[in-house]
């Protein structure tokens, strides 16, 4: 990544206009404000159905096109090739949610990554289908209560772990893969600016908490996002084209996962033993990441 830069030091005008129709405290709106200022005006961006298209698209005055839910990767590929063959050089950016990335869009994204199409894919991950009322997606973490995995008498929420999409994409031999969080804008900006200098398929997966779907006070979005990183649940890292893995943030000590999750009503049903399980899994994964930090991944 490039050097982390504070938002106020990013050159150029803000793209996003004042006011948008997202929910109060929406992480995606924060992400859009940061990302589009960094990307600048020479950008074509695209949407697939979801919160971003519905609530933010009207507030992002840029060259834009939307397509079918499954079509994110193909649309970007077509635009990128169509512009280049006509001698136009613009940033071609997909700004999609987790559904359009890790589920219905995964096939098209994988193919675009494998072809190393020249584009930037930003996944705004709020960990469920929030636009349709909070159904689970492949990005929903284990135990989260969603409208299709409700935690009730016979159910403990989602049964399986969150899909590790950044690693899936890294296995496609692309020039850049990174995770980021809206609570760490300087890190995010450094990653966006670095991605913009590269040719080929760039992927930035940003965790973006959803007050409505996760169940927390809209004033706490940044706080919740930060806790997810500080507890090690959402580590910030990047994988270069040569497969070098780097942890971008290494707290001396991780905060307990309970501190992060207990603020979210989607986890309010968790028992002590379930918290322990999540704590152990998180600690184990964190240890694995520390072990590969600075090394070349065998993928």
């Amino acid at each position: 990544m490039s050097k982390p830069v504070p938002f106020s030091k990013v050159e150029g005008e803000e793209i996003m206009s004042y006011g948008n129709s997202s929910c109060q405290g929406c992480g995606h709106a924060i992400l859009a404000r940061i990302a589009f200022k960094v990307l600048g005006k020479n950008t074509v961006y695209t949407s697939v159905p979801g919160c971003i298209w519905i609530s933010l698209q009207g507030s992002i005055p840029l060259y834009w096109r939307g397509t079918v839910f499954e079509g994110g990767g193909a649309l970007l590929s077509g635009i990128s090739n169509g512009l280049e063959i006509n001698g136009k050089h613009m940033q071609v950016v997909g700004f999609y949610g987790d559904g359009g990335t890790v589920d219905i869009g995964l096939g098209g994204m994988s193919a675009a990554a494998e072809r190393n199409e020249n584009l930037l894919w930003i996944c705004a991950d709020n960990e469920a289908y929030m636009n349709t009322g909070g159904q689970r997606s492949g990005a929903t973490p284990k135990y989260a209560s969603t409208t299709t995995t409700p935690a009730t008498k016979e159910s403990r929420g989602k049964k399986t772990e969150k899909k590790n999409t950044p690693f899936i994409i890294a296995a496609h031999n692309v020039p850049y893969v990174a995770t980021a969080s809206i609570a760490y804008p300087n890190d995010l900006i450094g990653k966006l600016q670095y991605a913009m200098t590269l040719k080929g398929f760039k992927y930035i997966h940003v965790q973006s908490p959803c007050p409505t779907g996760w169940g927390f006070d809209p004033s706490k979005t940044i706080h919740v996002a930060r806790m997810m990183v500080e507890s090690g649940i959402w580590p910030l890292y990047e994988i270069q084209g040569d497969k070098t893995f780097k942890l971008n943030l290494k707290p001396k000590e991780l905060k307990p996962v309970r501190e992060a999750l207990s603020q979210q009503s989607r986890f309010r049903h968790l028992t002590d033993s379930e918290y322990d399980l999540i704590q152990n899994t998180t600690a184990e994964k964190w240890q694995q990441l520390l072990e590969i930090d600075g090394k070349v991944l065998p993928i």
Partner: protein
């Protein structure tokens, strides 16, 4: 050359810039030929080798939006898989070749394209390989007409044309270049145009019933534009296909006509010639278009002939033949109506012989004088 090669040459002559397709029999060799043209430097284009037909359709939509001339091709099941994105991008002048393939065999019938009858795509049908090449070139001129900007697909019958060699004349590149200038749409993103101005140039139909009305009215305009482009093609290239949407063949003084599409029209020509020489009063109407449906042309024919036998190489399960149904609907308000009979034949690529065409024509002729039963039959 084989039909798939004729299409590929048409695409090359049109100087297509972005191609995207997914392999499917019997389409695949079209894009293989194109990949070869690109690989050996004969065609300057990008080929996006996608993982599925949905992506092929969305990729060419993206490229067309970005200002490139585009092409894709598919067959039967692949076309069905494209259905979702085909409902979008209604103002992008994409050209697609469909090498017809049934869903009950790998051989052709027209159920694949006709299942896309409400997607807002023009649909043209080809009888031979020369027509396939010429229709490829014409499709770009039609789709990219600034009064229209609408996607266009054209069909060739799988195997019967796709893998069968016929003599085909390839027009000079210079002639095609002059007739089909480079594609320069106003909607392509351009850093020199402020976004606020650029947004005003975007087409598409969205929002309430009004959007459907506008779209439907716009789409129907294409019939006249197709005829116009076809007439201009004839003037410049010296070949014609009726008036571009229908062709009346050996119909002078005939009381009855049979209607055929695609390669069945070719078989029917010989049969009709034989029957006319025997003094039988039956001609052939070749239908080159299915979408938009040529309602006025069908009414005109209905006013001219006493009996019309419609050959449908398709079936709308539970509701009969598509062309039969739509023709009957078109003529319903006429005070004097001809008898209209329906025939399903050649389904799933079953062979359609001159004898079968003769049987259809004889029955249609009989209906000039009297009611015949059944109105619809499988031949």
């Amino acid at each position: 050359m084989v039909g798939n090669k004729a299409v590929a040459y048409g695409v090359k002559l049109a100087r297509v810039q972005v191609i995207s397709a997914y392999p499917i029999t019997p389409q695949t060799t079209i894009v293989q030929y194109l990949a070869e043209f690109i690989a050996n430097g004969e065609l300057e284009a990008r080929f996006i080798e996608v993982e599925a037909e949905i992506s092929a359709m969305v990729a060419v939509q993206g490229a067309s939006f970005a200002g490139a001339r585009t092409f894709t091709a598919t067959s039967g099941p692949g076309l069905l898989y494209m259905h979702h994105p085909m409902m979008e991008g209604n103002q992008l002048p994409i050209v697609m070749s469909v090498v017809h393939r049934s869903n009950k065999s790998m051989q052709p019938d027209h159920t694949d394209t006709m299942a896309q009858n409400a997607t807002g795509w023009m649909q043209l049908y080809c009888e031979n390989n020369q027509e396939a090449l010429d229709t490829t070139i014409m499709s770009y001129k039609i789709a990219e007409d600034p009064r229209l900007y609408t996607p266009c697909m054209f069909g060739i019958d799988g195997y019967i044309l796709s893998y069968t060699a016929e003599p085909v004349e390839i027009p000079d590149q210079s002639l095609v270049d002059e007739w089909l200038p480079p594609f320069k749409p106003k909607w392509a993103p351009d850093p020199n145009i402020p976004v606020s101005e650029w947004k005003k140039m975007q087409g598409g139909y969205y929002g309430g019933q009004k959007a459907w009305i506008t779209h439907d009215e716009h789409f129907k305009k294409s019939l006249e534009i197709i005829k116009e482009v076809h007439a201009d093609f004839e003037k410049n290239f010296g070949r014609s296909y009726g008036n571009g949407i229908v062709e009346e063949y050996n119909c002078e003084g005939a009381e009855a006509v049979i209607v055929a599409m695609g390669t069945i029209a070719s078989t029917a020509r010989a049969t009709i010639d034989d029957m006319r020489s025997e003094g039988k009063s039956v001609g052939l109407v070749k239908l080159k278009i299915y979408r938009p449906f040529p309602m006025d042309e069908m009414r005109r024919l209905a006013g001219k002939y006493k009996s019309i036998g419609i050959i449908d190489r398709n079936v709308c399960l539970g509701a009969g033949g598509n062309v039969f149904n739509e023709t009957r609907s078109a003529v319903y308000d006429l005070d004097e109506k001809p008898r209209i009979l329906g025939f399903h034949t050649g389904m799933a690529g079953d062979e359609v012989t001159p004898r079968m065409i003769q049987k259809i024509a004889e029955k249609t002729l009989k209906a000039v004088k009297q009611r015949v039963e059944p109105t619809v039959e499988w031949v």
